[in-house]
Symmetry: C2
Subunit: 785 residues, 2 copies
């Protein structure tokens, strides 16, 4: 996108004013629509040309074997990969004898607009067919936030300069051929997801049709159904037909200039591990009936209303940098789209915008996405954590298979089973368990949701704490050690006492003991004894946090600072990302950081470091962090703001925010980075806003970087909505609901109400000399001057 010249900067839209075939795959990701349950890529209505056709259902996957050159105990034998399900967004157009295809004839205008308030993708095309007939085609597409099974499309055709015989084919297409190199470079995965669906039933009636399929390996059943409203001239004629892998409504008409054919298409999806063919078929039919009942306009009105509510609670206003404002809202829209209606399913790293990372969910859901949800749409945060709760049996079985107690959540999965085929950066990255526990603790602290605490929190916190108890041990000095695990930085592995991991395990222990105290009956059901709780508190107290006295900094893990520093001077720009050009053994044993690890620890545990340590640590790790991961900039933004490098903080904030819209990682074609998009919020709220949640009190230390004239954000906290407005001189706090909320502003205690905004000055800090990054690996400069 960064080289796509036709995206205009608008505050509430992504607006592409001309089509770039070269950027087709990227725009398909950017224009993807999702509600967390269904996702459709921004493919052209007519299906072709495409980068990667994509329609996804959260949780719908196929299995494939995970092979190993040398077998080892505990290595998962089966992988899961997201599949492209029955495509219901296809509407093909024939004008005279000519199929509408943007590659042929003359494309006079092509305009696509993702409206972030309406929740629609609108397309307007003026096309002259090879036989010289000028046509206008417009379509409006949405994935409903309020009817979670429904995709709606309104498709309009109109001749501009003479009469036209037209045919519109509205389709459901299963087992769509995919461009192989894009779905997977691995022939085994490609084989598994090439035509993954077996037909079970296909039916059509007048304007409607349904296809029922089942995946070959994973045995998941799905149904896709469509129904239509068609309006044209009196000569309009419709007919429908189906076969195993396709259903088609054919609409023919003869239009004069000024006449229009309009087709409204509702598509409904459903899938299940257990429901029968009739049950699923009826389920999608019912969803269609409900959608028709609400009607096109009604659905669009609900969509806008849902988003109005979201923006009222979640919008971040940014003044002084229009690109950032646009990118920020795009980020929030896409995070919402990934999570809104996931309801008991995971949040994949790419949401439902592409097949990147095989559609797996990772630790980044809890670590980066969950804070945004917790403080904007907490119900979605609870849903996502309930998914973790639902896969607890898999996690417990995995812990047992590994010879440990409690639960070991998968490093990557769709359905719950571990799918990581590389254990040093999979199984060994146990911090995912504490990440989940911390998200639970954060959610309960921010919402006070006692029922969740009891129904979900106890199980998750107890089983993860048990895992840590089993993984760690006391050394001769009485320290609690956690050896041989992998922290967030994937350029290190199997280290002893990773600071991030140990601090997170400590939080996990303390949180588990606390939740068991709050819900003693529930804890007893799990067999938690006072002894066990005491053992958690003791381990937390005695947790080893290594510190390098010589350098006055925290090593990321024990011995890290004894290792050789990566030879950055000898590393060419084209050798990044390093993992594609150097062997793991060499990357692991040297001081080079892919993504913040110790810096993430400081972001999550400010209280565990003195201000001087934070400053020295940040400066030390900046020099060796290469940001080969999109999960870097937001964390660096937070710490840079914290230690007073405001200009650097702004540069990182901008990078986090623009990551996908400017395709800074060059892989947006595979899907958006939901965690990274969430990072934009984190950078603004936790970074520039300086927010910390102490449960009974929210702490703020906002600061406005050069380059902005104002920004504001809102925080939902215990059913209250706090609005924070930051300018160069002051911060203004007000509640948007009746009530009182205790906060601190730069240490000053304030009681914020809805009665009157509280305005406080922002202390000015003199900038310090910023640290340097490895050559070529600093953030793009965004700050002026």
């Amino acid at each position: 996108m960064i080289e796509h010249p036709w995206i205009s900067v608008e505050p509430w839209a992504i607006h592409e004013t001309a089509l770039s075939l070269e950027h087709l795959a990227q725009t398909e990701s950017v224009f993807a629509l999702s509600n967390g349950h269904i996702g459709v890529r921004g493919n052209l209505d007519e299906g072709e040309p495409h980068g990667l056709p994509g329609t996804y259902l959260n949780g719908m996957y196929e299995l494939h074997p995970l092979p190993y050159a040398e077998a080892s105990y505990g290595a998962p034998e089966s992988g899961q990969t997201i599949i492209n399900v029955t495509d219901g967004k296809i509407l093909r157009l024939l004008v005279g004898d000519e199929p509408f295809d943007v590659r042929y004839g003359e494309l006079r205008a092509h305009d696509r607009l993702l409206d972030l308030r309406a929740g629609t993708l609108r397309r307007t095309v003026e096309w002259v067919s090879p036989a010289h007939r000028a046509m206008r085609v417009t379509s409006t597409r949405f994935v409903s936030f309020t009817h979670r099974a429904i995709v709606g499309i309104a498709y309009e055709v109109e001749p501009l300069d003479g009469p036209a015989d037209i045919v519109v084919q509205s389709e459901l297409v299963a087992n769509e051929p995919l461009p192989l190199p894009l779905i997977s470079k691995d022939p085994r995965v490609a084989a598994a997801i090439d035509s993954p669906l077996e037909s079970e039933e296909h039916l059509c009636s007048e304007l409607a049709a349904v296809l029922v399929h089942k995946t070959r390996g994973s045995g998941l059943r799905m149904a896709a159904a469509m129904n239509h409203l068609a309006s044209g001239t009196p000569r309009m004629h419709t007919a429908s037909e189906t076969s195993a892998d396709s259903a088609r409504l054919v609409v023919t008409d003869v239009l004069q200039p000024g006449q229009q054919l309009r087709l409204v298409k509702f598509v409904a999806y459903g899938w299940s591990e257990s429901r029968t063919v009739p049950a699923l078929r009826d389920q999608v039919a019912a969803a269609l009936a409900a959608a028709r009942q609400t009607g096109w306009d009604g659905l669009l009105a609900e969509q806008r209303s849902y988003l109005d509510d979201f923006w009222a609670r979640a919008d971040i206003e940014i003044e002084g940098d229009a690109e950032l404002q646009q990118a920020m809202r795009f980020a929030l829209f896409q995070v919402l789209s990934a999570c809104a209606r996931a309801e008991g399913r995971g949040i994949p790293a790419k949401g439902l915008t592409g097949s990147g990372y095989d559609g797996h969910s990772f630790w980044d859901s809890e670590t980066f996405v969950m804070p945004v949800l917790t403080y904007t749409i907490p119900s979605a945060a609870a849903d996502a954590l309930r998914w973790r709760h639902s896969i607890l049996p898999d996690a417990s079985a995995r812990a047992q298979a590994l010879g440990h107690r409690g639960a070991a959540f998968p490093w990557r999965t769709i359905h719950g089973e571990e799918c990581s085929g590389y254990w040093p950066a999979g199984t060994a990255a146990f911090h995912v368990n504490a990440d989940i526990a911390a998200a639970v603790i954060q959610y309960v602290r921010a919402t006070g949701d006692d029922r969740f605490d009891r129904d979900v929190g106890v199980d998750l916190l107890v089983q993860t704490a048990r895992l840590w108890g089993s993984l760690g041990h006391y050394d001769l000095q009485g320290h609690f050690r956690i050896d041989g695990v992998t922290g967030p930085d994937e350029y290190s592995a199997l280290a002893d006492n990773n600071v991030y991991t140990n601090l997170m395990a400590r939080r996990n222990f303390v949180g588990a003991a606390a939740v068991c105290e709050r819900h003693q009956d529930k804890a007893r059901e799990l067999g938690v004894t006072p002894d066990e709780m005491a053992s958690w508190r003791a381990a937390a107290d005695r947790m080893l946090i290594p510190y390098d006295e010589r350098l006055g900094i925290h090593p990321q893990a024990e011995r890290f600072t004894d290792h050789e520093i990566w030879d950055f001077a000898a590393t060419r720009p084209d050798q990044y990302p390093l993992l594609l050009h150097f062997p793991y053994f060499d990357i692991y044993r040297k001081q080079v950081v892919k993504q913040p690890d110790l810096v993430l620890a400081m972001a999550r545990f400010p209280e565990a470091f003195t201000p001087e340590q934070r400053t020295r640590n940040f400066d030390y790790y900046e020099r060796i962090t290469v940001r080969d991961s999109s999960l870097s900039a937001c964390t660096q933004a937070v710490l840079a703001a914290e230690v007073g490098h405001l200009r650097l903080a702004f540069d990182y904030t901008a990078e986090a925010t623009l990551m996908d819209l400017q395709d800074l990682e060059h892989n947006v074609r595979d899907g958006l980075h939901i965690a990274s998009l969430s990072g934009a919020w984190i950078a603004f709220v936790f970074g520039l806003g300086g927010m910390k949640d102490h449960g009974d009190c929210l702490e703020f230390s906002p600061k406005l970087p050069d380059g902005l004239t104002r920004f504001s954000f809102s925080i939902t906290h215990r059913q209250q909505c706090l609005h924070v407005n930051v300018t160069g001189q002051t911060a203004t706090y007000v509640l948007w609901n009746p009530g009182t909320l205790r906060i601190t502003h730069y240490g000053e205690s304030l009681f914020v109400t809805d009665a009157a905004a509280i305005v406080r000055p922002i202390p000015q800090v003199s900038p310090r000399e910023p640290p340097t990054q490895p050559p070529g690996r600093g953030p793009r400069r965004r700050s002026p001057g």
Copy 2:
């Protein structure tokens, strides 16, 4: 074998007095014959039944893809696996209408004898056919040590109780069907080596035939040819025929009791990467001609003479334990067989006795086999190291691909390219490079072979030293550190400053600097400067050797002793070997040792440890060493003897010696453990003999354990042959050649000559309390009392 009741204990033979079909695969390994160039498993002449048919040519392999669940830079994409080549040992017999098959009819007697002095496998069978004809079948088989391309078989048939129409089919069979689970559990490997040979030519004449084939993937050409001498009655008739994958000589005769058909079969093998079909065909024809010229009796006489010479230099006599005596000679015979005529090829871990470990060579060649060769048949040691020299270009390319200097030899290979598909225990186990360097240093020190030193030594030592220079770095204290590598113990990986590795790298550095001083012109050709030599010496001086002051022991690697000790009490006997029942991540991060690592370091570097450290270290590591590797007992024997646990030393010595003959590891069916068989020699000579080579002086501190009444061994050192005889009270030293050799006996300097044996008393040591091993993991008790 341990449960095979029909192996009798004889000093110079492995004698099986009845056939056990259940132990067929094991006896095929034990009765395998090889000269290091050709290997044939002890399959029955008639081919079936079999455990695993096997005929191998050293270096003849097929390629197969190495797959990964997740790709990583530098991971080898292609594996190599030894193939079963054209089988020339098949002689099928038809009596009347009945094929001779031990499973049918009545087997009255079945006797096989591997004669360790004759170098032959003799088989005598009395069989009554299902049609009640009693027959005697005898065969004698050898793989010639003096004609390295030749296998000889004499096959005799005689009816015992009446006339018999007989047919003998002498065959060459290519692409023999293999029992799939035995060749590989991996379907990809199985696919690659199922019918690996493509026919290029097949020819036969009167009594001779030749088959030429090429491997599909690796493109290696091979020829197998046979010729015969047949003598029977005047009614004997012969005919030959060939097809793409088989050649057959059919001999028919009608025999009366007292009459015999005798067929002498010579099989010749040749293979090449580059030679043409005619060249290879002629090569094997010439080998056959030479064999026929020498004749059956001549070849057997040469075979015996070759072995007489070997036994004179290499025999270890053991009195007081007949089983050990037999096993020791079996071990020496098989080590000789694996290496004698390898001539420029590697020594596979299983020799040419089976397809275990894919036929790969590992570090054990240099570490365990090379000492035996160096002090008994030094020319074979030189040959094996010349193989390493020949694959130096591959090793240099590998180092470069890994981003390092010098040469990085493969962890496992046949042809020279890295074939390890699991880098934490493959690529990261860089010590293999220092193991090769140390073998070079040891060979040159023991032989004074200056030409080898210059032609082979300089290259190998310089390129391996360069690798270490590139792998290591100086820390802030000025120590030279080698981080993130894997030592010999495969239950640890990616540790910092593994003591074994660092001591070996130090030896490598010092050896490289020394060889460059000796051959300055050659060193200059390699671009070695005085600066580079100084850098090696400096790194050697400053090499970090971690020591744990609290425990007063050396940690195997930095931080090792901080790790949790494996919960041996909770580990059931059926959970060994651990790697099949626990995940690597957990094994790696705990104190549990698969095979000696620090103890191996002490065995190889006695001078680097004080006697007190040796004792404390040995006792500490005994408690956590589970010996899940056959490469354990011999090293533990050496150190146990060194620190005064003589009874334990003997138990380990016995275990090392009996490993294969008693199938202690339960996998002899896949082939013999050549390194472990070499370990028997190491345990006796370096352990009970207490030998250390200081170059200009051999040190001895022999001791006789309870359970033996005497043992003796010989050492070839700088063209001299020293004989050492050890009884309970004295050690006797004599040279078996004119000359003088300086040695020490318990510190006393002696000049040994051939004129008169020197007899010295052996000091008696009072036994110390021996350390314990993990429950159930101690050696079997062999010592009396």
